[in-house]
Symmetry: C2
Subunit: 386 residues, 2 copies
């Protein structure tokens, strides 16, 4: 169970022929609850796919979307006016099939090849809407598979509160991810959550989970995280309780996305401690997560602390490189910007790798998740157009 | 001929035993001219090697350095107080050997492994200074080879003005480069060039050449570009003439550095046109140069214009992604943010690859040089500690 784990939702996933493989490629999630609310976080990339542009306009209109249609097999990005019209037609098709839903209640998400979204794509999506609408069920298990691209497994997460639940499904290999890069997530809850609370909670959860998953520094044109509350449980958790639950679900999914990153050999957790501010800690961790020399070293199981210092030295964060300590998997190799133990005392063969950077500039911390840079990463991303 | 192509300079390169291979590893350049001046550009990385720290202090003292000692085989970076003392001792050793030179006239550059700079390193450097000083010659050809690390060829360039000359040598695979990343350059001229003019000209030349060579976004701890004028020719070119000559020499070296980048399959020239400002053009070009998905696509000879738009969409530069045109090797594949010709009409098999991005937001332009992301890049940088 994923998005229908909470009460008040129906979902389905079908094979609509968008993917030439014949695998499932179209999903629909509908919020039937008595007290609906919705919040969405979009990619920060200014190069935005048509479904993002549509969904943004839906949110900007100030209504309360009640459904989200998601397809894999085509990003519908940079496909001209025709591509945007396809989104409008798809939303209208959902409205025609699902009672009580208007076109402007329908968010749309797409993932796949940029530039893919022509006539065949439109025909498959529009032909699939009646199928997926007819398949909607309150105990659905088919939606998570229909949004996958190069993912090797489906990704779902749940949380149980006192009388309320959260369910979620996702696809991708990171907010900023290799290969077919898009991250799509749908989170549902049957708690009673006012729009403003849902929006705050979602932004907080995304900021410390998906936004700190930085597989390769490349931001997708199609990323979208959608949250719906149905209110069907009748329970109103406190904002703190609800945010904690949402955070746990998002963190769980972020971990699954990291582990499934294409071509990765190591899952790297960069822990930055002793920063002057949380923003500094994040900047330092992100600079390391995007440094190819560091990421290639981890692929070679080389605990190269010199590359860590060189990578973070380009940031504007407050610290003195000659005060910094660096540890790999719990073994401190660099103390105060100089060599400590021999690197041979550190074992980087485990797939999970932890790098601890102690800045000694304050009390703030952040964790950034990333992956190593491997031969397989290059192979997958040079052979496969996305 | 390189740094002794102009009059008033002596140089030499020797094997001092710093490299275990026994190859040349210590070079010295001395300015003997009657009207000496000097300008230096350092790495912007805050994680700085000891020779950078020393050379910065020499420049800050306001004197006119007359010599530069350069070693390969060890970066002397993050080697503790011992490493800094080694630099002081090396400068003093040069002063003891070369008539008329004080320790504070001696700039020092190092390149090699971070963390390498212990007792053996010091002994080799100090033992080598008398050797390299004795070998100094006004018609030297040995210095360029002594500063190489993983470079496959020596890099030199010359320029002839009206009665004056510029000579230069360099090492590295880009300012921000793969593998053993440091870029070291020494430029000499026998023109009469006041310090202020030399400094302005050098900063201008570096900004549009070496600083726009962005092989992998990783900035070294040891980069240093040193310029000396001897005044030996007695000719004073105009600032415009001199700057143009210096720019030509730096551009020539930058091209050589790009072509010799480790593990690269394609030399990519990113041309950004129609930007609102030059800073915007540079930001757009650099964002693309650092985008792994784009760089992996080029390795696979896939003219993936969607990845270009996705890569530049994360910048703050002024443009509308839906107005942008993208061409590969002269073939326009994307017009106004949508598909133009089929990608099959574009051939990316030539090693030299040109990507043209037309922003349609103004008249400013910039060119950024970079390389593709290849399996060999990952292999070299995961197997080889630097």
């Amino acid at each position: 169970m994923s998005v229908t784990y909470p009460l008040g939702f129906r979902a389905a996933g079908v094979a609509a022929g968008i993917k030439s493989s014949g695998k499932p490629d179209l999903a629909l999630v509908v919020n039937d609850g008595p007290e609906p609310s919705c919040a969405v976080v979009f990619t920060q990339n200014r190069a935005q796919a048509h479904p993002i542009r549509w969904s943004r306009s839906v949110m900007a209109a100030g209504g309360t979307p009640r459904a989200v249609l998601l397809n894999s097999g085509g990003a519908n990005c940079f496909t001209g006016d025709y591509g945007y019209e396809t989104v409008e037609l798809a939303a209208a098709a959902v409205a025609a099939e699902v009672r009580g839903i208007r076109a402007t209640d329908v968010l749309v998400c797409s993932t796949g090849l940029i530039g893919s979204g022509g006539e065949e794509f439109r025909a498959s999506v529009l032909g699939g809407v009646p199928l997926v609408s007819a398949a909607l069920a309150a105990d659905d298990t088919t939606a998570p598979a229909a949004i996958l691209t190069t993912d090797s497994v489906t990704k779902t997460a749940t949380h149980e509160g006192e009388g309320w639940r959260i369910g979620a499904m996702g696809k991708g290999a990171g907010m900023l991810a290799p290969g077919l890069a898009t991250m799509l997530v749908v989170v549902t809850t049957d708690a009673v959550v006012p729009t403003a609370v849902l929006d705050r909670a979602l932004r907080a959860a995304v900021a410390s989970t998906f936004n700190r998953l930085d597989s390769d520094g490349c931001m997708s044109t199609n990323d979208q995280v959608t949250a719906f509350a149905s209110g069907q449980s009748g329970v109103t958790p406190t904002e703190v309780e609800f945010t904690a639950g949402l955070l746990a679900v998002c963190d769980d999914l972020a971990e699954q996305l990291q582990v499934d990153a294409e071509g990765a050999g190591h899952n790297i957790h960069i822990m930055v401690e002793g920063a002057a501010t949380e923003a500094d800690a994040e900047e330092v961790g992100r600079a390391l997560a995007r440094n190819n020399l560091f990421k290639a070293a981890i692929a070679g199981e080389d605990p190269n602390w010199g590359r860590v210092l060189a990578a973070i030295g380009v940031t504007d964060a407050s610290f003195d490189p000659y005060f910094v300590d660096v540890s790999f998997n719990g073994v401190r190799l660099c103390t105060a910007g100089g060599p400590d133990r021999p690197v041979s005392e550190c074992d980087l063969s485990p797939k999970r790798t932890e790098v601890l950077i102690e800045l000694h500039a304050g009390d703030a911390t952040a964790r950034i998740r990333t992956n190593d840079l491997t031969v397989d990463y290059v192979r997958e991303n040079s052979a496969y157009a996305s």
